[in-house]
């Protein structure tokens, strides 16, 4: 109930319009990977999904930010069912990728931000970190769906607390997979290009 309300509120405030380009919403296991522009990203992409898909999708979020207050913690755990990753302590025997694979099991989907942190230069998508590659290598059956987030960085820029209700656009693109034998660098470049291309469509 709170989830539906929050999703509606998020869509209203961010003025987000949602486009599905060459892709249909589905509850199959997917990894939605998006460019990172503001703190609202995970929330708005999550809100942009249709209800049934939203129920099985977990946004990946930074533990240090989302456990930093009672309301935030409540929202992250109870409302969006986020997968909190510790950015500070990367343990060797429990890498974030292993954690993700364990947590999603056979049913859940993920929303990830391969850039790592919010890009400072609006419009330029930063280099993708390798998590997406390892995730796809260990679970090649997962559909990788590129997502482009447009203009959300103006709604809530870095360092700001108050949102300005402009119009933004979330575009979901055609699913892709890691080709067998594809080198990491090529794959990450291909993924990044898939996200960037959605902006122009």
């Amino acid at each position: 109930m709170t989830a539906t309300l929050l999703a509606a509120l998020a869509k209203l405030l961010s003025g987000a319009s949602v486009r599905w380009i060459d892709c249909q919403p589905d509850t199959c296991q997917r990894v939605y990977f998006a460019n990172h522009t503001s703190h609202l990203d995970a929330l708005v992409v999550w809100a942009a999904l249709p209800h049934e898909v939203r129920m099985v999708t977990r946004p990946v979020a930074a533990k240090d930010y989302w456990e930093g207050g009672r309301i935030r913690k409540y929202m992250a755990t109870k409302v969006f069912d986020a997968l909190l990753i510790d950015r500070k302590e990367i343990k060797v025997h429990q890498s974030p990728v292993d954690l993700m694979i364990r947590e999603i099991g056979e049913t859940k989907s993920l929303i990830v931000f391969p850039e790592g942190s919010r890009s400072t230069d609006a419009g330029v998508i930063g280099e993708f970190k390798s998590g997406l590659y390892y995730l796809s290598k260990k679970r090649p059956d997962l559909e990788l769906v590129p997502v482009h987030i447009d203009n959300l960085n103006r709604v809530l820029p870095r360092g700001e607390f108050l949102p300005v209700p402009l119009l933004s656009c979330i575009s979901f693109g055609a699913p892709m997979w890691l080709e067998s034998g594809e080198p990491k660098a090529d794959f990450l470049l291909r993924a990044r290009e898939a996200v960037r291309r959605l902006k122009e469509v």
Binding site: G15, S17, V18, R19, D150, N151, R154, P157, E160, L162, P163, V164, P165, L166, L167, S168, C169, S171
Partner: protein, 318 residues
């Protein structure tokens, strides 16, 4: 509120819309009738927008004055979103923008809504003086002085056109047109105003298509011509005069107001075209895929609203 004149006005418009929809559907189903397919589609789209406007306005007016004020407030908010999304802003503008959306917009409509109760004229100056000064100061405080006047002017223009000007439309409901009687005359005047703006836009377009020769500003809008402007304004004036019974004015008064509406509406269209050209955008609706382009529908309305309010109030002071 449902007296004879009101029913005649609204009923007449509904009949016209129904007839036009019939024509539109016929043209869509029989594309061999010789008309350009894109024009037919655009006509049908415009018709849908008119039906929406009509029903939403009617619903709000039925519920009451407050509902109408809130409705226009929401429209202003949305139009402002589109406007600011289009104009490039810098980080230094962020805080000022927050206050523009969440303080000045609702405040303007609150002041309009209180027109019946308080005799203060604050709604006339709150935005052009105090909000504008606030914007200048707040952006200055944020420390970013690059293209300072240009950036602040953009925000000010958005606030002026989308919020201040549009707020004078529901303000018509608070004028003292028929002292002692119910608000039928106010309702009719608002309806008449919106109707005349749409008719005037359509007439300008039709006249331009039929006899347009000398383009006014080719760089801004290649379809707006002097012949279209003059012909459209003249016919809108006559049409308005014919509908004088729906307004609180005598025929020459209705003609005068219609002429002003037509001229101001045309100016609004030109201005918004200029802004869009500068940004390389054709319509506000295509800015961010999926949004309807509210600002495209109301640009003429915004420009024409203040003059209608002020002239009416001049002739009908409290």
């Amino acid at each position: 509120m449902a007296d004879g004149k009101t029913l005649a006005l609204v009923g007449g418009v509904l009949v016209l819309l129904a007839a036009a929809t019939g024509v539109g559907q016929f043209l869509k189903l029989y594309p061999e009738s010789g008309l350009n397919a894109a024009a037919v589609r655009s006509f049908n789209q415009r018709l849908r927008a008119w039906w929406l406007m009509c029903s939403v306005l009617a619903a709000a007016l039925l519920i009451g004055k407050t509902a109408t004020v809130v409705l226009f407030g929401a429209i202003s908010f949305w139009a402002l979103r589109e406007f600011i999304t289009l104009t490039p802003t810098r980080l230094g503008d962020h805080r000022a923008l927050f206050w523009v959306f969440f303080l000045f917009t609702p405040l303007q409509y609150l002041l309009i809504g209180m027109m019946g109760i308080s005799h203060d004229e604050l709604y006339n100056v709150m935005i052009p003086v105090y909000a504008f000064l606030f914007i200048l100061a707040r952006v200055a405080v944020s420390g970013d002085y690059k293209r300072f006047l240009e950036r602040t002017a953009k925000i000010q223009a958005g606030l002026l056109i989308c919020v201040y000007c549009l707020s004078f439309a529901p303000a018509l409901l608070f004028l003292d047109l028929e002292p002692g009687k119910s608000h039928g005359a106010n309702f009719r005047l608002l309806f008449f105003f919106i109707l005349m703006v749409q008719l005037s836009d359509a007439l300008h377009f039709v006249w331009s298509r039929l006899v347009g020769r000398h383009v006014i500003a080719a760089t801004i809008s290649p379809s707006k011509t002097w012949e279209g402007f003059l012909g459209g304004t003249a016919s809108a004036t006559l049409l308005g005069a014919a509908l004088w019974w729906a307004t609180p004015f005598p025929p020459w008064g209705a003609a005068g107001i219609s002429m002003l509406i037509s001229v101001m509406g045309f100016a609004g269209g030109m201005t918004m075209s200029a802004i869009k050209r500068d940004r390389g955008v054709k319509d506000y609706g295509t800015l961010v895929e999926g949004h309807g382009g509210v600002l495209d529908r109301i640009d003429s309305l915004c420009f024409a609203a203040p003059v209608v309010f002020h002239i009416t109030r001049f002739f009908f002071p409290n």
